[in-house]
């Protein structure tokens, strides 16, 4: 799916617009950026309830295209400015983390990790 599809599925508001037509295949949801940096591999979407600029920095280091703030979080301008600088899309969804992840998963986005 594309980021544009994600917007529709999550009834999301676009707070910063990067490439909405970029293809995304995997996502991760976490409020711990330490875990995102440690365990995430090749995910292109980050769902989080954490709102500070390090969310954008973390997504940048992981080559992610899109950040989704869940539960209608208020997002500071410094976060949006940084995201715009990095051509990253920032979305805000009214859904909570579990539901937002579930909606994306059932629509075809995977977690990108196998458990053996």
């Amino acid at each position: 799916m594309t980021v544009r599809d994600v917007v529709q599925i999550l009834k999301a508001e676009i707070l910063a617009e990067g490439d909405l037509d970029v293809e995304v295949r995997t996502a991760c949801g976490s409020d711990m950026m330490s875990d995102v940096l440690a365990f995430v591999k090749d995910q292109s979407v980050l769902l989080t309830g954490l709102t500070n600029p390090q969310v954008v920095r973390t997504a940048e280091m992981m080559d992610m295209h899109c950040i989704i703030f869940v539960r209608g979080k208020e997002v500071d301008d410094t976060i949006l400015e940084l995201a715009k600088e990095k051509d990253m899309t920032v979305l805000r969804t009214p859904y909570r983390m579990f539901t937002a992840c579930g909606l994306l998963y059932t629509n075809g986005l995977s977690g990108g990790c196998d458990v053996t």
């Binding site: 711990m32 330490s34 940096l37 500070n52 390090q54 969310v55 280091m61 080559d63």
Partner: protein, 147 residues
């Protein structure tokens, strides 16, 4: 390509600025055409180090050398030093205060993650004096361990 040198100051009093040096290095590596895998490994390892310097040591300095066959990053701080390096290298072991966890860090993954993403990691640390991390990422990972 001759060796390129870059130096950065990592401010310790502004958490919002943490990662700015890593971001700049990432941009530079992209510009000179490094592979995306190498760029990502350098960026993540350096970013974790930067965050650590801000959380634990009140900031520090970063020195970066870019060679055709390797990228070397030295992160130096004058913080409290690491009392027990072997414990600090264990996943999940953390001395970060709760307010740091509320910012999304301090899960005890910093140093293990730096080790995971760099090919060579050397830690010089002295309690009360500070810590310097020396990390190297080879552009050809098959050469790892040869340094």
């Amino acid at each position: 390509m001759s060796t390129l040198h870059f130096d950065y100051v990592v401010p310790g009093d502004d958490f919002t600025q943490a990662g700015a040096a890593s971001s700049d290095v990432k941009r530079k590596l992209k510009k000179i055409g490094c592979s995306s895998d190498v760029i990502r490994r350098v960026a993540i390892a350096m970013y974790e180090g930067e965050i650590n310097m801000v959380i634990h040591a009140g900031g520090g300095t970063a020195h970066v050398e870019i060679d055709p066959d390797k990228i070397y990053v030295a992160l130096e701080d004058h913080g409290p030093g690491i009392k027990d390096v072997s414990k600090a290298m264990q996943e999940g072991w953390s001395t970060a205060p709760d307010n740091v966890r509320s910012l999304g860090f301090g899960a005890g993954m910093g140093l293990p993650n730096i080790k995971k993403y760099s090919d060579v990691l050397k830690i010089d640390t002295e309690v009360g004096k500070g810590t310097t991390l020396h990390m190297t990422v080879f552009t050809d990972r098959s050469k790892a361990g040869g340094d």
